[in-house]
Amino acid sequence: MPQPTKSWVYYNDRLARYLFISSAVLVSLIIICIIWFVGMQGLSTFREVSFLEFFTSSKWSPDSGQYGALTFIAGSIGTTLIAILLGGPLGLAGAVFLAEIAPPWVRAIMRPATDLFAGIPSVVYGYVGITVIVGFTRKITNSSTGYGMLAAGIVLAIMILPTVISLSEDALRSLPGSYKEASLALGATRWQTIWRVLVPAASPGILTAIILAMARAIGETMAVQMVIGNSPRFPDSLGSPTSTLTSNIVMEMGNTPYGSTWNNGLFMMAFILLVIALIMIILVRTASRKGAVR
């Protein structure tokens, strides 16, 4: 085999290739480092606190040595569920509308509008939550402050709209046109076609949208912290102040010395969030793989 000419052109080409590979490897190393560092710091909580107490007790008073994080876990799950129940159907309706019903000029307005929604910083959502939504939840829950899971759930429902809309719309649009044509040719109405044919066929994509929206909602910090009320009380009603994993980290991180059990407990909460996010990614991969088999 003849040797290639080893000019600088050749070496540049090799060098570029190695640089690209190493950046790709670096991206993998970063996620491993994050899991390792946050995990190590978080798991060292269990040198002082029992596993069972952390996950099943709702008594969080680090001053007297009680480290039960159930309140925060319940708060996070509760707000996320409210957000999905409110934002999911509305977002799906928006997606179906954009993919199947909207005239082109309406679409030309609505697509950039949802992008703008996605671009609004989360503190601004929190700010709107404090100035408007808390007043609204105070009225409908008859509570004294209005801060709590319902306020956080409403803010999150608005925040996840762009995720649900754009991903579900993409899923609906990527269906072969023959599905729709076949259904309409059989005499089905537009709604029957949407509901019985298109939405079921796009369900892996829609499921992905819902899962990613949940991931965004459970990890959202600033907006939630500003409207949840920040009291370490088990959420027994929609309108009473409580806390979530994220909001509690923001509240207490600044007051605790690095390396103390209290501080490690906060890192453990972050680790729980990280693990949930990773599980969601695996779920998304399974959902899209199912879609590919079809």
Binding site: F20, I31, F37, A93, G94, F97, V123, T189, W191, A277
Partner: protein, 281 residues
Amino acid sequence: MKAHQANRFASILLWIGAVAILALLVAFLALILGRGLPYLTAEFFSGSDGVRGQLFNSFYILFLSLIFSLPIGLGAGIYMAEYAPQNRFTDLIRLSTESLASVPSIVFGLFGMIVFVNMFGLGFTILGGSATLALLNLPILVRVTEESLRAVPRSYREASLALGATMWQTLRKVILPTALPGLITGITLVAGRALGETAILIFTAGMNVSRILFDVNPLAAGETLAVHLFAVKSNPLPGTNSDQIADGTAALLILMVIVFNLCLSIPSRWLQYRLQGKNRG
């Protein structure tokens, strides 16, 4: 005709849903701009508790974070689009990028705190903040780069390689220029997101502004506009007009988002137009 009634009913419901979504956005913008715009005066920026320092920090941290993340993000994206074979290794890198994209920003913040604030002992710094923010940018950059390079037709590559160009020459002279509009859109998207990020910066760049105006020292603490809004809204200092500052800051942030969204569409459209014109001519 039950089916037709259901059809009309559903259509009306979907229209209502769409109008509700748009109305929500309009209400958001009207509320924030309506409350905040009157406060956006010269005094708001340069007064005794003016926000010019925060405004500067926002862009400075954004700039540094892009410097950190662009080379790696573009490099990894190019690898995924042009070089990566279909194997376990590639799959692993793709999984890492997806996982990185799903990490909640507060987890990035705590990771940055362990590394920069505690391990390196820097305390709250602009450097730590922007390096951690770069981690948030990375996965989006990788995805955007990969998508825009994949959109370049195969024939372009084949033509260039057939003329005897190396892969690197092909990339630099053919693929990257063609993919430029998509790349610019992606970078603007990343920048807009990074500009509004808060949870990461609270734990890495801190909530103080340097006494020196427009301090470019990367080891100074650097509160950004978004962090400032959080600080004045959640812990209002007595005796300051914190509500007005919050209203003004929120309006300023929204204006920045709108400007970035405009930037998103105009230059990439212009570039596309120019490139297409050049290719035809």
